[in-house]
């Protein structure tokens, strides 16, 4: 168990950060559009990136966007090399592992299928091969007790490395469905330039909330960010950013 040993350095590094307090280092997965990814010109973009940038500006902190290897996120956070994880980061199931901001948007896990396959509901997935990204919320949901029957009905659950290869798997017929975050699913489907090729099942696998994760105990920074987010909701900036990425206001903070 590593949770005990984590408490002590946590305080220390958060104190330290407070005294420096010049920069705001945001850890994110640059492989996770539309929340965080690399633009054609090499800059980082995404819904969460825009939010974090705005928050930093209001707090008078210099934003430092740090793409990280998702597998190393906990080590990055506990060693103090990043101040928070902000990147479509699911609160549910991780409530005790981080100090969280308020949830700022809802997310759901859905199934993406090929349109021509005539899969309309999760029942139709019986006997099919379903792909899920390793260490994703969708995988966590499928491992849960309440979804045991659904999972058992699949012919096989394939754990893949990234969504790019998962979509190639779907396209080439090796898998029949991908369980994934709806936002990412929409982005990938649009990008893949074939709204007709893929469909998202209406039936959701699970729903959950995204939040900003801080090192356990770092309430000081969490409070500042939280207050700023609320302020942004109030003056409409949050809605504006949301419209830009999702054509609607997805915000749930302060509502």
């Amino acid at each position: 168990g590593g949770s005990d040993s984590k408490d002590d350095p946590a305080k220390k590094s958060s104190d330290n950060k407070a005294s420096e307090a010049e920069t705001f280092t945001v850890g994110f997965d640059k492989d996770f559009p539309p929340y965080g990814y690399v633009e054609e010109d090499g800059s980082y973009a995404g819904f969460d990136i825009d939010l974090a940038t705005e928050v930093a500006k209001r707090l008078n902190l210099e934003i430092n966007l740090q793409p990280i290897d998702w597998d190393a996120k906990d080590m990055e956070l506990s060693s103090g090399t990043i101040d928070c994880i902000w990147n479509g980061f699911t609160i549910n199931g991780r409530e005790d592992e981080y100090t969280w901001s308020d949830a700022y948007m809802n997310n759901s896990q859905v199934f993406v299928v090929r349109t021509k396959d005539n899969i309309k509901s999760t029942k139709d997935l019986a006997g099919k091969i379903v792909s899920v990204q390793t260490d994703s919320s969708a995988q966590a949901s499928l491992e849960e007790e309440e979804n045991a029957d659904l999972k058992a009905s699949f012919k096989e659950l394939v754990v893949c490395a990234d969504y790019n290869s998962a979509f190639m798997d779907l396209e080439s017929g090796a898998v029949d469905a991908i369980a994934m975050d709806v936002g990412v699913a929409r982005y990938q489907i649009t990008k893949r330039d074939g709204n007709d090729t893929y469909a998202v099942l209406d039936e959701e696998l699970a729903s959950e909330q995204y939040g900003v994760g801080f090192l356990k105990g770092n309430t000081k920074l969490r409070d500042k960010v939280n207050d700023t987010l609320k302020e942004m909701v109030k003056d409409g900036t949050f809605a504006e950013i949301s419209e830009k990425w999702f054509s609607e206001d997805v915000g749930i903070i302060g509502k």
Partner: protein
């Protein structure tokens, strides 16, 4: 979570890793020999093709080669691929890649054989086939064991690349566990597995080397 429990959880991944390891060796060692013949062929076309093959296989990342082998049939020939093909694709990709490395090792060994051994065999009436397999190759094996050992040890660690086409070997499992438990223990378990596996491989190779030392 104790190391014991952890190892149990990693067990399935370990079996996959070891299978990839064993199957790769079983097929790439002979294939490498065939390619080394091509590389040394007098026929310029065969030689050029073998040379290009070795160059590309050694010059591009194995990870990309695995993606190619797995997705290639669909994207190039528009064939629907089945999920069962994953594991085969991993083996094919590893075999094709390692055969290129082994081919160069064989070549260096074969080319270092003194001409006198060929000449002695020729004068004694051996044909080309028996000259190679009775006289030359057994001696080549002795010479090339150390570089082969190097490649084999690299292979132990390379098995982790299989996850790029969703074959869950040991390291992928360890990574997932590390995330889920927000702990570095699975990594440590993985390191121990690799280290022990490597020690084992090194020990076996050492024994083979010793066995070969009955002469010279």
């Amino acid at each position: 979570m104790s190391l014991n429990v952890l190892f149990l959880q990693l067990l399935e991944g370990m079996v996959t890793s070891v299978s990839i390891f064993v199957l790769t060796l079983v097929f790439s060692l002979p294939l490498g020999l065939v390619i080394s013949f091509g590389r040394m062929s007098k026929n310029i076309i065969v030689r050029t093709i073998s040379k290009a093959y070795i160059s590309v296989m050694r010059g591009t990342p194995l990870m990309l080669q695995l993606l190619m082998v797995y997705f290639g049939p669909h994207f190039i020939f528009n064939i629907n691929i089945s999920s069962n093909y994953r594991f085969y694709a991993v083996i094919i990709g590893f075999v094709l890649n390692y055969a290129a490395y082994f081919a160069e090792i064989y070549r260096s060994g074969i080319e270092s054989m003194p001409k006198g051994q060929y000449e002695a065999a020729k004068v004694l009436g051996y044909g080309k086939f028996s000259t190679f397999f009775r006289i030359i190759f057994p001696q080549v094996i002795k010479i090339i064991l150390p570089p082969i050992t190097n490649e084999v040890i690299t292979l132990v660690k390379d098995t982790s690349l299989a996850f790029v086409i969703a074959v869950s070997e040991m390291f992928a499992t360890a990574k997932a566990l590390a995330s889920a438990q927000a702990s570095v223990m699975p990594y440590i378990a993985a390191a121990i597995f690799y280290y022990v596996f490597n020690l084992l491989v090194a020990k076996i190779m050492e024994i083979i080397e010793k066995k070969m030392n009955y002469y010279k």
